[in-house]
């Protein structure tokens, strides 16, 4: 690139150097808007791009603007796809992106994908297109098999990270792991927890042995407990470790080798896996517990008292994921022993039954809100809640950033007063001024949305289900939440009025999802016509929406802003509303 004087007194090189200190994408984007020459300089030196919605742009736009990327992150399907609300085949296919990037970025090093459809062909193309490829993170992705993984293993000579987070992988065999060549030593992070098949233990052991920089190793359930000591002994430098099934016939020799192996891991900070735990083996990890800052027991079927004993040995936890076997009592113990706790997730062990199988109530959440001063992120599944408890929680912890409460029964009221939980959630948004993410549940009227619109000024993402009375509720949210970027709604009586009255708001957001609500096809068409910078997708499995009256509500609606226009890969059950009348 020739050095030339720009209109300012700084040569481009200097500006480029200055821009290299900018870390956040937001700042880089701002810098690009200052003037044309800054836009030009910035786009040439940008190395990393995050695309929150793969349909908001297209590969051509990206490769034309940024000629020299090293790291790309893409997100595909809307969040509610996690809960089977987005029909299969909706979209989010990454292959066209890989083709473009293979052409444009021979030096690409990192690809991170979330909720995208990845094929074996795509993985093979990745493995052969980028000589210096280092990082592949696939979160909640699907569409590929272990054959694709074999290609990655065989061809990516400099791979550092292979992280498969909760992907749906067609598991043909565990043989793919053996495709890492014998002279491959660069692995830093390997997460295969979501795979079903057994991998060859000897291949795994050899791989672990020859990769001295391995920091994260998350095994799958199929790796038996007896194999752990060998692996741990070969990788005592591990910082994060995920076991397989933590069960075996109780034998003292197995126990002592396991204990010894764990005690050799002096750097271990994070522990996960722990499927099918046999409590007799838990003491084997006692030596690492005091150093743990992250513990994922959300697949561990241990119950009190073993569970409580375990967490009480981990006073330095910052992050704890656990099943509701922890119960109120266990949370009380956590409240008194884990003073550094920042993130807590409590998952239900038996979500499909209305009656409680464990003694976990609103009290547990109250306890941790009282006892853990740094707690800022909560995901809590429970079966009962009161306004009083929520008010207490809000007052205890005004520093919440993420608050996701799931009361299992839809529209469950305050179980003591039988009132809606408007007051409680209202207290949350009123007190927690930095709240960025909120998920509501329980019986809620429009009043809670009034509170949210009034107070939740930093709210970035809101999830609503089975709540509200009328369009007024949605109107409060759209008109009041200044920072709102992602709104997802299901089974609420919100219709046309609020959307049409706040149509321009939609252009300031990344996306809006509404399913089983009351938005008519007519309103969708209108939005599509009036707002050309939005894609208004009607997702309806009952056939073409114009075969029904215009006033008919659509099954699902997905609206997102885009500079790429309507997408070309819509399946038969998705209609993008036209821009022109």
């Amino acid at each position: 690139m020739p050095i030339k004087m720009s209109h300012s007194s700084f040569p481009e090189e200097v500006l480029e150097h200055v821009f290299s200190f900018l870390i956040s994408d937001k700042d880089k984007n701002s810098v690009s808007l200052v003037c044309k020459s800054w836009y030009e300089i910035e786009r040439w030196c940008r190395k990393r791009v995050f695309v929150g919605n793969c349909y908001a742009v297209n590969p051509l736009i990206m490769t034309q603007r940024f000629p020299d990327l090293r790291s790309v992150e893409l997100k595909g399907k809307p969040h509610f796809a996690d809960f089977n609300l987005v029909p299969d085949g909706w979209g989010g296919c990454v292959f066209p992106w890989i083709v473009s990037m293979a052409r444009a970025y021979p030096f690409l090093e990192e690809i991170r994908l979330k909720r995208m459809v990845v094929s074996d062909e795509g993985l093979e193309l990745i493995s052969t297109s980028f000589k210096n490829f280092k990082v592949l993170v696939l979160a909640a992705c699907e569409g590929f098999s272990t054959d694709g993984l074999a290609a990655i293993a065989a061809n990516c000579r400099n791979l550092n990270v292979l992280d498969l987070r909760e992907c749906e992988v067609e598991d043909l065999s565990g043989h793919w792991l053996s495709h890492f060549p014998d002279n491959f030593t660069s692995l830093v992070s390997l997460n295969i927890a979501c795979l079903g098949s057994e991998v060859s233990y000897s291949a795994l052991e050899r791989l672990v042995t020859r990769c001295p920089n391995l920091r994260t190793l998350r095994l799958n359930r199929a790796v038996p407990l007896e194999k752990l000591p060998n692996l741990l002994r070969r990788a005592p430098q591990l910082v994060e470790f995920g076991t397989g099934a933590f069960s075996a016939e109780v034998r003292s020799d197995v126990f002592s080798t396991l204990t010894e192996a764990f005690s050799g891991c002096k750097q271990l900070k994070g522990l996960s896996g722990l499927w099918d735990v046999v409590p007799a083996y838990l003491p084997a990890i006692s030596s690492v517990c005091p150093a743990l800052t992250s513990l994922n027991l959300s697949y561990a079927t241990i119950q009190s008292p073993d569970l409580v004993k375990l967490v009480s040995q981990c006073p330095n936890l910052k992050r704890l994921w656990v099943l509701d076997y922890i119960e109120d009592f266990g949370l009380q113990v956590i409240a008194s022993s884990c003073k550094d706790l920042e993130e807590l997730r409590v998952f239900p062990s038996d979500p499909f039954v209305a009656e409680p199988n464990v003694s976990l109530t609103e009290q547990g959440l109250v306890s941790v809100s009282e006892g853990c001063p740094k707690l800022q992120s909560v995901l809590y599944f429970c079966r009962q809640m009161t306004n009083a408890a929520l008010v207490t929680i809000a007052r205890n912890r005004p520093n919440f950033i993420r608050f996701r409460l799931c009361i299992i029964e839809p529209r469950a009221p305050d179980y003591v007063t039988l009132e809606p939980l408007d007051t409680g959630f209202g207290a949350i948004v009123e007190n927690c001024k930095e709240l960025r993410r909120l998920s509501l549940s329980g019986l809620l009227t429009d009043r809670v949305f009034e509170s949210i619109g009034k107070h939740a000024k930093k709210l970035d993402m809101l999830s609503i289900a089975f709540a509200g009375d009328s369009d007024l509720g949605l109107h409060h949210v759209l008109s009041g939440c200044d920072s709102l970027r992602k709104l997802e709604i299901r089974d609420c009586p919100f219709g046309d009025k609020a959307l049409l009255a706040n149509a321009s708001k939609l252009e300031t957001m990344r996306s809006l999802w509404m399913s089983s609500c009351a938005v008519s096809f007519r309103a969708c068409k209108l939005l599509g016509q009036k707002l050309p910078r939005l894609n208004v997708e009607v997702i309806d499995e009952r056939g073409p929406p114009d075969s029904r009256p215009e006033s008919c509500p659509v099954e699902r609606l997905y609206i997102y802003r885009t500079i790429a226009g309507p997408r070309f890969d819509t399946p038969g059950f998705v209609w993008t509303m036209e821009d022109d009348a």
Binding site: F83, A222, I302, S304, S439, L443, T445, S470, D491, S551
Partner: protein, 267 residues
């Protein structure tokens, strides 16, 4: 439980009627709101009925009012059976990722099989994970397990067992023995070498124990477990109860004379 539910719903309707809707609520919205208060699933039914109606708004209003009144009955129905739980009928609720669901489903199997698995069984576990994954690829999440409540005389807290995860009465009895033999231990397998196990509730099926295993069938009758073929049992079992033999009302241990299926006095 059901009563408080419908009371709450009634209260909710009263509460809402006091609200003033003025700007954004027209008649249609109010009716939809009322429809919604009657219970989960009502809303989607109202929407479906509207589909087939003329697009004239007054007509839609009247049809939604008729569906909301018929919805009253549906609301009541959906509240009554406590075991099924309304939430299990709704797609994608509670909001738990499919990946996590698989692990829960697999967890419902008796832990004893995990403890003593050889590598062969471990591989089967892997296959089972695959099968469950394929199941959850369907749009409506259908659990492949059949969880029924189990209560034991003398134990305050009931448990749940996945009857589908067992292949036979013997396997089920074994699981129940594990679950209830030592009420204070966790729900995982115990050492087989522990001789205490022998004298516990083992022998539920052959009458050698102090307890008998009974079940409530589809008709609400309580029967002794073991009389009918296993598949038939799976189709009709609603819940289980481990009773002290003294409570079996004169029927006595199963090994004594029997005439066809035996009925026990309901509790």
């Amino acid at each position: 439980m059901e009563n408080s539910g419908s009371d709450a719903k009634e209260k909710n309707m009263l509460f809402k009627s006091k609200e003033s809707y003025v700007k954004y609520a027209d008649e249609a919205e109010v009716e939809l709101g009322l429809g919604l208060s009657l219970g989960v699933g009502q809303y989607s039914r109202i929407v479906k009925e509207k589909e087939f109606i003329d697009d004239h708004s007054t007509k839609s209003c009247s049809s939604s009012s008729s569906s909301s009144s018929s919805g009253t009955k549906r609301g009541a129905d959906s509240v009554s059976p406590p075991c099924s739980g309304v939430s299990s009928q709704v797609v994608g609720w509670p909001p738990i990722r499919a990946y996590r669901m698989n692990s829960l489903t697999n967890h419902a199997k008796p832990p004893i099989s995990e403890e003593f698995s050889s590598s062969v069984e471990k591989h089967e576990t892997g296959n089972n994970i695959e099968k469950s994954k394929k199941t959850t690829n369907e749009k409506r999440l259908v659990s492949s397990s059949l969880l029924v409540k189990v209560n034991m005389d003398g134990h305050a807290i009931g448990r749940k067992v996945d009857v589908n995860a067992h292949g036979s009465y013997e396997a089920l009895a074994k699981t129940l023995d594990d679950m209830f033999h030592k009420p204070n231990t966790t729900m995982t397998a115990k050492r087989r070498l522990n001789s205490e196990v022998q004298g516990g509730i083992m022998g539920l099926l052959d009458g050698s124990s102090d307890f008998v295993l009974t079940y409530e069938d589809k008709d609400g009758d309580w029967m002794l477990v073991g009389d009918v073929p296993w598949e038939m049992f799976l189709n009709s079992v609603k819940r289980l109860r481990i009773m002290k033999t003294s409570g079996a009302n004169g029927l006595g241990p199963r090994c004594q004379e029997r005439r066809g299926s035996q009925r026990i006095q309901p509790i």
